[in-house]
Symmetry: D2
């Protein structure tokens, strides 16, 4: 299907600032293809397309003190989202390449080390594979209430396992932590999704199984129709949409994702 995405934001910078922006759909995705995209910024023009440590593309810039704004829009052709194939197998660790193995380790917002006994207690009895991951996502959706404004940027899986309330970012962190506790490689994805209310960036999960990364989204019963990844990392700390190194205020921000099939 075809999606139109649009993001716009305006910031008030208290000083000249370096910034990194990650809004463009991930390069080289097998399940999506950018048909056209446009990025405008003012007052400066984003001059440099770089990559972060994980290989995610990002725009780097230095903006002067004062008002800074950007607008990004794109049309993306995306395959319908798919379940993890029922026969996808969990790999033994010796088969995992280093860039996948790192996603079995605990990270800032996914404390799989302290959640290990809880994961074993809740999911350790299930057969490894796609069904176990689905059980984790179902558990999170059924035990955690989705509610805006209840969590913040420092909320982690350890807190969500107790507090049982949060938004997509928190759902994803808890799924990731449980997966890693069971030695299933899992990473955080920031991206675009249809049917978010209110419209916003989306955070979801990819697990590595059967030789490929598969999307898992615990905020949706069934299968979210489409997901367009922007960047991946160990958790949300690694994939902020915008990072500014100077004190600033967000004056305005909006995200739109629409289906635009012919």
């Amino acid at each position: 299907m075809r999606l139109a995405v649009r993001v716009a934001a305006t910031y008030e910078l208290q000083d000249e600032s370096f910034g990194c922006l990650m809004v463009e759909p991930a390069l080289g995705g097998e399940r999506h293809r950018v048909v056209e995209e446009r990025l405008t910024t003012s007052p400066i023009r984003l001059c440099e397309l770089g990559r972060d440590f994980y290989g995610n593309p990002r725009r780097q810039f230095v903006a002067p003190k004062g008002r800074f704004a950007f607008e990004f829009s794109a049309t993306v052709e995306v395959e319908p989202n798919a379940e993890i194939p029922a026969d996808a197998v969990e790999h033994p660790p010796q088969e995992l390449p280093p860039e996948v193995l790192i996603y079995t380790l605990p990270s800032r917002y996914c404390e799989s080390d302290v959640l290990s006994r809880m994961a074993q207690s809740e999911f350790g009895g299930l057969a490894p594979g796609a069904g176990q991951v689905r059980a984790i996502a179902d558990w999170v959706r059924e035990h955690v209430e989705y509610r805006y404004g209840t969590t913040g940027p420092t909320t982690s899986a350890r807190a969500t396992a107790i507090d049982r309330v949060g938004v997509c970012r928190d759902f994803a962190h808890l799924v990731i932590a449980f997966c890693r506790s069971l030695e299933i490689p899992a990473r955080y994805v920031s991206g675009y999704a249809l049917e978010l209310e209110p419209p916003d960036f989306h955070g979801y999960v990819q697990v590595f199984m059967g030789g490929a990364w598969h999307a898992v989204d615990a905020t949706f019963a069934g299968l979210r129709p489409a997901l367009v990844p922007i960047a991946v990392g160990r958790d949300a700390a690694d994939v902020a949409m915008m990072t500014l190194w100077t004190p600033h205020e967000v004056v305005e921000q909006s995200v739109e994702v629409r289906r635009v099939d012919a």
Copy 2:
């Protein structure tokens, strides 16, 4: 049945110190009666029997710098431990006297405020009453591994809900927190119990239901044969066996509880 209990400990005090000792079975218990007891201390003699804020009896003393030792032994006639009666009803809050109502509030090691959604999610669907409390105790026993040396004096219910490992103190704190999250008055009891391995003081729970306090012990499948309360409080912070106000080392400590029926 009849129990013989014996506690002895020796401390090395770095300075003259005030101390409070709570080892004597609670006064006025309906389910136990002290047949005989003996408390010896050296070098000083415990002169003062006081009561703490909750009414628990305790011995208060000032010991000189150096070695301090006590030995307490008692014979106690105790009724067999009993289940909460199946028809015990949960009281509406307006029926609770102030000294009971306080046991619905969160406390240092029983963070019922943050565990509220977890308690609702796991137990909120059950009918109020003895069965709900039993379900809580069963859940804790089944989901938390009993293992010595895994937790410490600052471990709280919030941690145990995640870490899923601990000792009797941790089991009790988690049961209390879940009960209070559901507005069931619950308090911490330090006491003596048969069949502890290794022998030690025991920590368990009392809930207020049907007009009386009833023992709940999540560390034991079924019903622990006998429990002799020493002191009650909001959690373990309130009922330390020994409090010394000066730096000191525990040189030696032992607890024995034996059945001595004729």
Copy 3:
């Protein structure tokens, strides 16, 4: 000086509910005297004046489902707030009565057990007495930023010691925790204060020194001109202005404190 206080609030109750209201100035205060007061409620009339476990007066009622409102106003003659006398001495623990000794123990939002080394490291070198308490209050005011909306009902001293931001409740909890870590009895007071912006209930501290409780308020440089206590407890968990046992919404709430000297 003479203060006029007024509190009004309206709630929407989803069901018939038991409630406890604590807004009336504490009875028997040595430093304040209620000249006149008026409490109105609708639709029911508050029928019962009770006391909580700590002896604080409170109104208990059962309100029907739907809208419930109260309004309380009082004129209070209050002595100017005073510093802890410079010669007030810290008591050895053996001189503290049980109802004071309990305020040296950790509690839900004042984790003096885990803050013990931090307190020793920051304040352990100071001479015991009024100066040490003043140093604690100064440290908290200088290291913690006062900002509305940054903390919530489950924020505790352990978090504030790190996060370094909060409101009066958080300032009080951190002062209390540090004091208790140094074995100074300290309790939480909810009350009325002049010069709060925005107007609200106030949370501050009392420490026991020289045979009496003395007010400490880390949110104010110097000496807040007047403080009228409502209720005291181990921390904010014990002195909620309103407790309702049924799901409800706060429709409206306002607090006013004015000086009305003739």
Copy 4:
């Protein structure tokens, strides 16, 4: 100077297990050179030298169920450890390459996001540069007590900032977190060091300043004479000496570091 290092360990594996071992001094170090080294394992021979996600070399193997042992010894020529040059400058973020920039982000055991205000409050007033980093290391050494057995594998900087006790790993995590809070790139290093008591692996810090990584070791007043890095990562989660994917027990482990200058 010349060091002889030796590590030996024996494990009892409950099943065939994949393992990763990181004990060899880092490749390409500018300040150390391996003169000779020997690694023996039984019953299997370590067949594969791989690299982790950060480029650290590691040995990967599959060991059968039962006893598994390794012994590693090396002679290393190492330059004396040096202070950060007094004129080393802190880089603006736009000058940092992606593989350095990632070390400004929070990680599992270095929660620089929640420690941000504390870092500002304690060190924000100091001039950026080598002196600020030294002030951080001095603060940690002076405020945190070094004591074996007080912390565990899940202890993080947030806890150490409060608890004020720990071992080298904890000291390093807190220094890293404070540095990142001030936007100084900082990473965790596992390595060998002289003068540890008891002998063990060492954890310390490297900060990026003046175009290079410089060692910082808050566990030592002055300058530890020699440090030999093994592996670097965001924190200790990334650089475990041994990772085994099967339940196992450590039967025996020893580390020796001696000076062997001719």
